[in-house]
């Protein structure tokens, strides 16, 4: 809202300013240099709407004529610098080798001067004046354009159409003009508006010092300079030119922001309206439910979990009525394509859903502590939930590159995990950190403690992440795609490690993955998710040998049979179609649009999760016929 208002203001103001400046000589304005000493510093009147300055000259007329000088210098300089800079950038970027060096290197020298100083140096040499100013400004801003152009050229230089033009034997000049220039036009235009603003500021600054535009030519900088001595007598005399200058610069800047949004959609700000934000601890869920005690070795019992996320076009249920059980020492794999809600389920357990825009809308997450007490995590307020994180439940994330903070040593990050839950003497915390590193099989752990994440390989980093997750001795470990970013041999090692840890400490494991192939090695039970729902679950054997849901079969068929380097990511047969948008889900079976067996019956309503055996269930109305 506000952004649009400012944009309209900016465009309107600039248009008016430019029009007035261009047509100033034709307008019935008083002569901006005609003095009238008798009515010096007179207030506003019909003849002089902004009043008169220290020599009795008309301020309004001087502001308009000042705009003329300012805009003429700035636009000319920005355009000249643009022409020269673009050419330099094009040539430097297109031709490699010494031409690149010869064109781009000298620019660095210009950039190692503060611009104002280079301008002053030149003024000292050449004397002040509008012409000097224009020339200096043009030279000063060549690097700005050249760098932008150069960068863009490097990006497009090896694009196919440029290659094609080259193969066709087109001359470099033609290639540059025809294929590359259109690509750099946007960024250059953005740069142009930036440079215009900088030029206006520099010009007015130099004129203010008396070293830019020389009197009697009116200029905003000169007006401020002149009115300064009298500002105690006539404050408005100085406020008017200041306002003209500030609004002009603001408008150009605002326009520049807008151009940037238009030409660089990546940088565009996506903002949620605050109204769609969700309060995590709204009244209905404020109380913490004491869910009673458990008798068997149940560790986690999720019932009917539903999460809501506010998106710009409404709210989506990334997890929609999911139930899930994990026993102590059991490994459960949560499988599905991206967008199935599997990661969201993991994050919901840890209360790590994106803040302010998402919440647990329904369902319970019962966690059983070692003393057999059930706690509904969904109702534990965030400030108290900290006691569970790390200590009861640990979590490992997908990106080993990003899961460790690059500015701290491995040791520091491990120690943090220890001290989050226990106050221990320093020596002991470090001893524990070292032990945790040893436990995950990192060679030379003493040295690694003092190293930074970027000094470790991806596999090592993932081991460290696991060590961090295990530092608080949790009973449940959630691993969200922990091997996806790693290569196949390292994948196998990490899986072995997880298996080893599970056996050694009877830890419950939720293994989230899109790859059923990985699951076979590690999972006791498998839960397959699609569009926020569980579509099939069963023991690993059941899922692999007697899958009931067509989606599970599709997933199985897409697992590469031989996991070698070349076939690692190649799907043999992938499921046709794409996951539907969570904002437009099919009315019945959510898999129906992609299912080869879909009938009208499938669209009649969301199928129930029907038991297939004691341990297996499938959400498909036709599972019996298809079995």
């Amino acid at each position: 809202m506000l952004r649009n208002v400012t944009l309209v203001f900016a465009i309107g103001f600039l248009a008016a300013m430019v029009a007035l400046a261009v047509f100033a000589p034709l307008l019935p304005l008083p002569d901006p240099v005609k003095m009238d000493v008798i009515s010096r510093m007179a207030g506003p009147s019909w003849a002089h709407p902004f009043g008169q300055d220290e020599y009795g000259r008309d301020i309004f007329s001087r502001i308009i004529h000042g705009a003329r000088a300012s805009l003429a210098v700035s636009l000319t300089a920005a355009a000249l610098a643009g022409a020269a800079g673009v050419i330099v950038g094009l040539v430097g970027g297109y031709f490699q080798g010494w031409i690149e060096l010869a064109t781009m290197r000298p620019l660095d020298v210009i950039l190692s001067f503060p611009p104002m100083l280079l301008a002053l140096l030149a003024v000292a040499l050449l004397g002040p004046g509008a012409l000097t100013l224009t020339v200096i400004l043009s030279i000063l801003f060549i690097p700005a354009y050249a760098r932008v152009t150069y960068g863009e050229v490097l990006v497009v230089r090896n694009h196919e159409y440029v290659e094609a033009a080259r193969a066709l034997g087109h001359r470099p000049l033609r290639i540059l003009a025809r294929t590359i220039l259109p690509n750099v036009a946007g960024p250059v235009l953005v740069q142009f508006s930036l440079v215009v603003a900088s030029c206006i500021v520099l010009e007015s600054g130099l004129s203010f010092l008396g070293l830019g535009v020389v009197p009697p030519t009116p200029s905003w900088g000169l007006m401020i300079r002149g009115a300064r001595a009298y500002m105690h007598l006539d404050p408005m005399g100085i406020v008017w030119p200041c306002m003209a200058l500030v609004f002009t610069v603001f408008s150009v800047n605002r326009l520049c922001d807008h151009l940037r949004d238009v030409f660089d959609p990546k940088a565009r700000r996506v903002s949620f309206s605050p109204a769609s934000a969700i309060d995590e601890d709204d009244g209905a869920r404020g109380r913490e439910a004491a869910a009673g005690s458990a008798t068997d070795d149940m560790l986690l019992d999720i019932r009917n979990l539903t999460t809501e996320i506010a998106v710009p076009r409404g709210s989506i249920r990334a997890v929609d009525g999911v139930s899930l059980k994990v026993r102590r020492g059991e490994a459960v794999a949560l499988v599905g394509e991206s967008g199935s809600g599997k990661s969201m389920t993991g994050l919901a357990i840890m209360k790590l859903l994106p803040r302010r825009i998402s919440r647990i809308a329904r369902g319970s997450i019962d966690y059983v502590t070692a003393d057999r007490q059930r706690h509904d995590l969904a109702t534990v307020p965030l400030n108290r939930f900290r006691a569970y994180r790390g200590k009861e439940i640990g979590m490992v994330f997908q990106e080993p590159m990003a899961c460790l903070n690059p500015v701290y040593t491995i040791g520091y990050q491990l120690v943090e995990a220890v001290t989050a839950h226990a106050r221990l003497p320093k020596q002991e915390t470090w001893a524990r950190a070292l032990k945790a590193l040893k436990q995950v099989g990192i060679p030379d752990p003493e040295r690694r403690l003092h190293e930074y994440p970027h000094q470790l390989s991806g596999g090592m980093r993932q081991r460290v992440a696991i060590a961090i997750a295990l530092c608080g001795k949790p009973s449940l470990l959630i691993a969200d795609e922990p091997t996806t970013a790693l290569d196949v041999t390292v994948q196998a090692q990490i899986l072995d490690l997880l298996e080893q840890i599970r056996e050694a400490s009877r830890i419950g494991l939720i293994f989230i993955t899109h790859n059923l192939g990985v699951v076979a090695e590690i999972a006791d039970r498998v839960v397959v998710m699609y569009c926020g729902q569980v579509v099939e679950e069963g023991t690993a054997e059941e899922i692999f040998y007697t899958p009931r849901h067509p989606y599970t079969r599709g997933l199985l068929a897409s697992v590469p049979k031989v996991e070698d380097k070349t076939g690692g990511n190649k799907r043999l047969s992938s499921i046709p179609g794409a996951v539907p948008s969570p904002l437009a889900l099919p009315p019945g079976c959510r898999f129906a649009p992609r299912c080869a067996h879909a009938t009208d019956l499938c669209n009649a309503g969301v199928p129930a999760l029907e038991p297939v055996s004691d341990s297996q269930a499938a959400r498909c109305v036709r599972w019996r016929e298809l079995a």
Partner: protein, 316 residues
């Protein structure tokens, strides 16, 4: 260590290039430099004075010899003598340099002090009232040229409210309290343009870092929220802030020129403006050289600080 050496070497190379450019500039201008320097308003200077200036500046010697003499002089700290009074330029610079440095430091300090918390607050309540207000103020602050800020501050605080003097200087040793009073407005004027820069950078990087997996890891460890924010989000945003401050050093140094003029602050830049007005080329050349040296050194400092803040840079 390796990193420090590399940055240092780059700094020295830059300085060399800058010094050479300053030297060349005098000779790149079409026409006789001595004549150009003496001519004003289209009046041709007398033959004798041109000849005298030529000898004074050593322009009568071969170019290469001039260049070598020049490089030799500046490395031994000899910046020549002023046209106006024949006083050694170096002495005056040494006297004024600390004042300019003080101004820069104070302005940077204020900018970080205001910009960081504002950026953090805006990012944490993104889209909220504070965010909207601060972001609008920031884009406005970026649009006010530094001399306008200075002039308007004088108008408001010393002419209308009569709270502080309009400008001037007292040595810190003479009267510390008064010294700070004089420092305040100039430093704030520069900071007004710099706060938005810091604010925007902090806001953007906090928003970016909040999404990072290491923040999730930190939360998953069970760290409390203030610690997660401070140690894993705000701490990480320090390096981009240092970078952006480095990038704006040029503008900042240019800003001091105007601000020192506006407030009669007797730093380097005031001397520079006067020298330019008098077209005292040796003085201008000397001051520009020193400010460029400062610029390069500050950038070197920024690089080293950056290396301290981000281990990835140090070990590359």
């Amino acid at each position: 260590m390796n990193y420090v050496v590399r940055r240092g070497a780059t700094a020295i190379a830059t300085l060399f290039a800058v010094a050479s450019l300053i030297f060349l500039l005098l000779h790149l201008v079409p026409g006789d430099p001595a004549e150009i320097l003496l001519s004003s308003g289209g009046i041709a200077p007398s033959k004798e004075s041109v000849e005298a200036l030529r000898v004074n500046l050593g322009l009568d010697k071969p170019l290469l010899e001039q260049y070598i003499t020049y490089l030799g002089n500046i490395t031994t700290g000899n910046l020549g003598t002023s046209f106006q009074d024949g006083a050694p330029i170096g002495d005056e610079i040494v006297k004024r340099l600390p004042r300019t440095l003080e101004l820069i430091l104070a302005a940077t300090f204020i900018s970080v002090l205001v910009g960081m918390p504002a950026g953090v607050a805006a990012a944490l309540r993104r889209g909220g009232v504070i965010d909207g207000l601060c972001s609008s103020l920031a884009s406005f602050g970026l649009s006010v040229p530094v001399f306008v800020t200075g002039t308007l501050l004088i108008l408001l605080f010393s002419q209308i409210l009569r709270l502080v003097p309009a400008g001037g200087y007292v040595g810190f040793a003479d009267n510390p309290a008064q010294h700070i009073v004089y420092l305040l407005l100039p430093a704030v004027s520069i900071a007004v343009g710099l706060i938005p820069v810091v604010f925007r950078m902090v806001r953007t990087s906090i928003l970016e870092f909040l999404e990072k997996e290491w923040v999730r890891t930190a939360r998953a460890k069970g760290l409390d929220e203030p610690r997660v924010l401070l140690l894993h989000v705000v701490r990480n945003s320090l390096s981009p802030v240092v970078t952006v401050l480095g990038l704006h050093m040029g503008t900042l140094l240019g800003g001091t020129v105007l601000v020192e003029y506006v407030f009669n602050w007797p730093g380097l830049s005031g001397m520079l403006v006067q020298a330019v007005e008098q077209r005292d080329y040796p003085a201008v050349q000397g001051i520009v050289l020193v400010i460029c040296l400062l610029f390069v050194l500050i950038n070197l400092g920024v690089d080293l600080l950056y290396g301290m803040l981000d281990p990835r840079v140090r070990y590359k």
